[in-house]
């Protein structure tokens, strides 16, 4: 057995980091969890409902948070790791000049960055009052705010736009962000529950509903919630004098251009690699893949291994993932770390 | 005779009833087409009148069919109808004897005990005994009817029809007529001591009352009133079925049939419905919780002119209601006629249809749309044709219109004729003698609506049967227990029960069950129903499957691609078409012996 407990630094206090940290702590390792925000929980703290069951993400976060009170875990918040270097058998982590920390291994769980919708200027995010992102909508619902247009009116028609910043060379992201389709359907249902009179349209290119119950949710959205699906990518949105929005897409199944006035647009923004990835890859300690996510040592066999021995990773810093996948991935990362030390002995 | 005026309600009701009946009768008969009128006239002159009279007596009074189906219910109907009839006849005889004249006022027998207070005529005791006995007979029926209304399960019936105002008046009147007659006669008996065992018995009890005389006229008045009410309500209620049915029997027996549009014959049929509700119990839609579209409601809706598409098109057209209808109403054709009427303003012309050249062949095979969704049947048929070395033309292998039957089921008769015309021309151009079809839906329309002159139309199993008989095809028997499902269009639709079974018996052991042939289930897939939901279809199908499974067959066999597809959705029982069973058990020419038959091959379907 170990003479001295190994020390592992987990970078990122989102759900992946929290789960990895607690699993490793239970296995007897000393953990330092470093989170750049004031609190742990990551993006989930801003989220209202989880697909496919509409459950409350706060339950997930609070369960993970209580596991962090383990004696082996030390949580450092409001600290961003700016540099990682290898120093003999230790890794040295730095946060500016304020903090320096040595660890026997690192698990990067730095997560994702939401696509900045204002980069798709033609959709008018940040320009027009009634263009929201899926994240804005979640926050609105989380805060129990009624869904209203900027001028306080009940929207009569809402368009949900799929693939915003995903599968788009113009946005620099050619990959699919995977969870947006089902998020859109979930949000359409939630909108219909709050605004039963409101017409809801989803503009999609393909519905990539990979979960076993996701297609059922699609059916429910059509059947019970009268959500309409139009196959066509949104080309542009423009504001009308009354602040409603005129949108244009092709109804590709009819082969004709389509114009529609809506009171609100929800942009399903995809996941982009976290900005802090550059900090980790700067001195070549880890590599990034072609999309800017952390590169796996092997996409099939070693998904939690970075290209640097001793640095592991979990969650959406690898690729877009759902909550359940992230948690599973975090547990598998913990297992990889344990294997790593056991082999070393 | 004081107080005779109490008969006025009765007389007024009677007059009203006859007036209406005469007017309606004239309207109905004059509304018939010329040729139909001629038919009626011819038949009245012939012996068919007697037959009709007999039928009217047996069905209208004795209710033979209901008796056979449900004896208690039959007795109820018979006691009311036949008992009343006998009361009238016996009453007239009694009155004639009492008056010693063949002409007595027709109301006399009805109120006989009021007018004739003495028993000073021959056989007076006998008559009064008989009249009491008959009254009791009728009253037993009334009693049962009351019981049925409140506890229908005692009659083995699950459901009865709902009533509207005039029906309620008529029903209440009817229920009251005989108890009130009993009361009036009993009072008369108490005063005049003229009744028999029933009336005098009650009369004795009543005579203890001080003022029994004062009650006499009011009781007879009440009796007269309910009779009057009943007669006035009758033409406006379901009891109109009594006179209408008699006319219906005469018209039907003279060879008049339903047309592709509404005629007065439709009205006669509609009014002949007694709303006994027998059709409700047969209907499988009830299994799926559909309870307002059955034939009895259809007829009611037509009568009330409030038929909408949601009701009209929600019917499997399986024909199960028709087989047990005591009146013999053609419920299926009647519904199709209504569908034709309902969709008359939008028939398609199919201008895009082209006549392509036809190759010459001896046999034309028309698989039909449904068979194209069960490629297993097509493969089997092709194999059979090839084994037989048949010079055949697969008419709809690549491109061909539908046979037209689904359109007819949807009421689109005119549109269907366009397809029929197009297909007929091409099929005939091939010079073939035989047309083989593998779908009963197509079969029915080819048989009934196509004019293919000398061309013979065969269901595939008939054709197979010929090949076997001529030893062109040899099949081996396997020990498999086969349960044959009768497709509606073929069984009840075309009366083909025996032929498929004979073919199947050559290759396996047939399992016989109670609900087969005429009583066979509908699979639920029906093209006749345009409104039913898939879940409802599933319930109907599962009801059949559950019953079939109780007989633990190895295989469910049918001769309809639609039934096959429908059953295939329920994976608990393997299902094959006759043609597939045959090809499986076919002996390869030249190689004697049994080809290996696989237990259950899940064939590749298009879905």
């Amino acid at each position: 057995m170990m003479n001295k407990p190994r020390h592992i630094a987990v970078i990122g206090g989102g759900i992946a980091g929290m789960e990895t940290a607690s699993r490793l702590a239970q296995a007897g390792y000393k953990i330092t969890l470093i989170e750049k925000e004031r609190i742990t929980g990551g993006h989930l703290t801003q989220w209202s409902h989880l697909f496919p069951d509409s459950s409350d993400p706060a339950i997930v976060v609070s369960r993970l948070s209580s596991a962090l009170s383990h004696q082996n875990i030390k949580v450092i918040t409001s600290t961003e790791i700016t540099d990682i270097s290898k120093n003999g058998q230790y890794f040295n982590l730095k946060s500016g000049s304020e903090m320096s920390l040595n660890a026997d291994a690192i698990v990067v769980t730095s997560g994702f960055h939401l696509f900045d919708a204002s980069r798709k200027e033609e959709y008018g995010y940040g320009l027009f009052d009634n263009v929201l992102t899926s994240a804005d909508l979640e926050l609105m619902m989380k805060n129990e705010k009624p869904i209203r247009t900027a001028s306080g009116k009940k929207p009569r028609r809402i368009a949900i736009i799929h693939c915003v910043g995903s599968r788009d060379a113009k946005a620099g992201n050619t990959y699919c962000s995977k969870v947006c389709c089902i998020t859109g359907i979930k949000q359409a249902i939630e909108l219909n529950k709050r605004l039963p009179e409101c017409e809801i349209f989803c503009f999609y290119m393909d519905l990539r509903l990979y979960g076993s119950s996701f297609d059922g949710l699609y059916l429910t959205a059509q059947q019970k919630h009268k959500v309409q699906f139009i196959r066509g990518r949104l080309s542009e949105a423009a504001e009308k004098p009354d602040k409603s929005l005129q949108i244009k897409a092709e109804d590709t199944l009819s082969g004709r251009p389509l114009r529609m006035d809506v009171d609100m647009i929800i942009l399903l923004v995809g996941m982009e690699p976290g900005i802090s990835h550059n900090n980790f890859s700067r001195n070549g300690s880890v590599q990034l893949d072609e999309n800017g996510f952390l590169k796996c040592k092997d996409v099939h066999a070693a998904r939690n291994l970075t290209t640097q021995t001793g640095i592991f990773m979990a969650g959406t810093c690898i690729c877009p993932m759902s909550v359940s996948e992230t948690l599973e991935n975090a547990r598998s990362a913990a297992l990889e770390v344990i294997n790593y030390f056991e082999r070393k002995m | 005779m004081n107080g005779k005026y109490f008969i006025i309600p009765f007389l007024a009701g009677m007059a009203y009833l006859f007036l209406i009946l005469i007017v309606r009768g004239i309207r109905w008969i004059s509304g018939l087409s010329k040729i139909d009128k001629l038919r009626l006239f011819q038949s009245l002159k012939s012996g068919r009148t007697l037959k009709s009279l007999k039928e009217a007596f047996v069905e209208g009074l004795l209710h033979r069919k209901i008796f056979l189906k449900n004896p208690v219910l039959g007795y109820m109907h018979m006691s009311l109808a036949f008992g009343w009839f006998l009361l009238i006849v016996m009453g007239h005889v009694e009155a004639m004897v009492a008056e010693g004249s063949l002409s007595v006022p027709f109301y006399m027998p009805i109120f006989f005990r009021y007018f004739k207070t003495t028993e000073d005529f021959p056989l007076a005791r006998f008559f009064s005994f008989m009249m009491d006995l008959l009254l009791l007979f009728v009253l037993s029926g009334v009693g049962l009817a009351m019981l049925k209304r409140f506890k229908k399960s005692l009659f083995g019936m699950k459901r009865t029809t709902r009533l509207k105002l005039f029906d309620r008046i008529a029903l209440t009147s009817l229920w009251l007529i005989f108890p009130l007659r009993l009361l009036a006669e009993s009072i008369a008996a108490a005063i005049s001591h003229n009744g028999s065992f029933l009336t005098s018995g009650i009369g004795k009890i009543l005579s203890s009352s001080q003022h029994i005389e004062l009650l006499n006229t009011p009781a007879w008045l009440a009796y007269s009133l309910v009779l009057g009410f009943f007669f006035i309500a009758l033409p406006n209620s379901r009891y109109m079925h009594i006179p209408a049915e008699i006319l219906f029997i005469f018209l039907r027996n003279s060879g008049i049939r339903l047309k592709k549009q509404n005629t007065t014959y439709t009205d006669v049929q509609v009014f002949s419905c007694s709303r006994c509700g027998i059709c409700l119990d047969n209907c499988q839609l009830s299994t799926a919780g559909i309870r307002d579209t059955q034939s009895v409601y259809l007829l009611k809706n037509i009568r009330n002119k409030d038929l909408d598409d949601e009701h009209l098109f929600n019917c499997l057209l399986c024909g199960k209601c028709q087989i047990d209808c005591p009146v013999g109403i053609e419920t299926i054709d009647l519904r199709i006629t209504q569908r034709i009427e309902s969709t008359r303003q939008y028939n398609s012309s199919y201008e895009y249809l082209e006549i392509n050249s036809s190759p010459s062949a001896k046999v034309v095979y028309f698989a039909g749309c449904m068979t194209h969704l069960t490629p297993g049947i097509i493969t089997a048929m092709q194999k059979i044709f090839e084994t037989a070395g048949e010079n055949y033309w697969f008419f709809d292998q690549e491109k061909a219109p539908c046979c037209g039957r689904p359109l007819m089921l949807a009421g689109q008769y005119e549109a269907a004729s366009k397809l029929i015309e197009n297909n007929s021309r091409q099929i005939l151009a091939s010079g073939a003698q035989t047309l083989v079809v593998s779908c009963p839906i197509c079969y029915k329309v080819f048989k009934e609506d196509y004019h293919l002159f000398n061309m013979e139309v065969l269901m595939h199993f008939e054709y197979i049967r010929r090949l076997i008989d001529r030893e062109i095809l040899q099949v081996a028997r396997s020990p498999q227990r086969l349960l044959y499902h009768d497709p509606c269009e073929l069984g009840r639709g075309m009366g083909m029960y025996k032929e498929p079974r004979e073919v199947l018996a050559m290759t396996g052991t047939l399992v016989s069950i109670r609900n087969e042939k005429e009583k066979a289930y509908c699979c639920g897939g029906s093209l006749g129903n345009l409104k039913i939901k898939q879940e409802e279809r599933d319930m109907i199908r599962n009801q059949a499957v559950n019953d079939y499974l109780e007989h633990s067959p190895d295989m469910l066999v049918t001769s309809c691609p639609m039934c096959k597809k429908t059953f295939a959705r329920n994976t608990r029982i393997p299902v094959l078409d006759i043609s597939e069973i045959i090809t499986r058990n076919m002996l390869s020419p030249g190689i004697p012996g049994l080809t290996e038959s696989k237990e259950c091959i899940l064939e590749e379907e298009y879905i």
Binding site: D116, S118, R119, E121, E122, L127, A169, K170, A171, G172, T174, E236, A238, E239, K240, P241, Q246 | -
Partner: protein, 354 residues
């Protein structure tokens, strides 16, 4: 896979040379807005004190022919190469293009040569063979509106009439229309990218005006090259322009400002045509909406005489706009020639003859 940088175009400023330009003229602008090109040179030389060379030897870029498909890509590139050669001859590194179609074509050619260097070599050979000329790619190719945009504040400093409604004191409302080929093909070649180029709105706001966004702002004017050039196809450009007028009219703009010679001409002419055929106008009081080139607008702001700017060549009368701006002009001079001689005048000007 072609990827674009992950940037916000709104913040994007392209490189525009400071001085020493070679001027490449526009066919349409010379035909229909001849005063604008003159004004551009005057402003550059006299107000901004820049050097710009106006060469007699350059020709059309043949772009209209190219987009109407009767001129091949090879011919087009070689003509452009000849123009570069003329620039090389004069030692001028920066081109200023007056036409949006031409600007689009130079952009396309430069992008093609960057991606397919062998194509550039092919053209080099063609030019050599046809004219004996050599060429090098210019350092900077911009549209003339880019220059005005770059020096908009300098112009503002010399401003005589700001874009303020003299009666109400409020900023004049001007809608912009960016020619499709300015940056729709190559967003990095337009100031502010492709979706909301700032090139015209930058001028309007710098000179005191106000811009309005309207739903069909980014829609094409409908020129469509062959769709306009062939008479029987002209319902297409008109329908497209009409779509824009109907979309902008509710905002009651005081003027339309365009950077493309074609668009400017079409907006001016189609208002007349729609007025004639449908009896409909989109401006105030039954008038059309005045359509301006950015050279004209800069000229007016700087106090140039509208008739010297050639604004009498507009079918839609510009006087209402001049009045709002408070520009001093003499209505009697509108149809006077070089020496103050009356030229004759059109049957009528405006959209709808009542």
């Amino acid at each position: 896979m072609k990827k674009t940088a992950k940037i916000k175009w709104a913040d994007f400023n392209k490189e525009i040379a400071d001085d020493n330009y070679y001027y490449l003229r526009s066919c349409i602008r010379q035909n229909f807005f001849p005063g604008s090109e003159k004004a551009f040179l005057d402003i550059l030389r006299h107000n901004l004190h820049k050097t710009i060379f106006d060469d007699a030897s350059h020709t059309t870029c043949a772009g209209i022919g190219y987009h109407a498909d009767i001129v091949t890509f090879e011919t087009l590139q070689t003509i452009a190469a000849r123009h570069f050669s003329l620039m090389n001859e004069r030692g001028i590194p920066s081109a200023v293009v007056s036409c949006i179609t031409s600007f689009g074509i130079y952009s396309e050619i430069l992008a093609t040569w960057e991606e397919f260097p062998e194509e550039k070599e092919k053209i080099r050979a063609y030019l050599k063979k046809a004219t004996g000329r050599e060429f090098e790619v210019p350092e900077n190719v911009v549209h003339s509106c880019d220059i005005i945009y770059k020096f908009r504040n300098e112009i503002a400093a010399q401003m005589k009439s700001p874009l303020i409604n003299q009666k109400t004191g409020k900023p004049l409302k001007i809608v912009d229309h960016i020619g499709c080929h300015y940056s729709k093909m190559f967003p990095e070649r337009g100031v502010g990218g492709a979706e909301f180029p700032k090139v015209l709105t930058g001028m309007i706001t710098a000179w005191g005006g106000e811009t309005v966004d309207y739903p069909e702002r980014r829609h094409c004017c409908g020129f469509g090259f062959r769709q306009y050039l062939v008479k029987s196809n002209r319902s297409y450009p008109m329908s497209n322009s009409k779509k824009k007028f109907e979309s902008m009219a509710p905002y009651k703009p005081d003027a339309i400002l365009a950077n493309c010679p074609g668009c400017t001409m079409f907006f001016d002419r189609w208002q007349y045509t729609l007025g004639q055929i449908e009896g409909k106008t989109y401006g105030e009081d039954g008038n059309g909406i005045p359509v301006l080139t950015y050279e004209e607008l800069a000229g007016l702001v700087l106090g140039y005489d509208p008739w010297k700017l050639g604004m009498q060549l507009h079918q839609v009368d510009v006087e209402p706009f001049l009045d709002k701006m408070g520009v001093q002009y003499n209505p009697d001079d509108k149809y006077k020639g070089l020496n103050g001689k009356y030229i004759n005048q059109p049957d009528f000007s405006g959209c709808l003859k009542v």
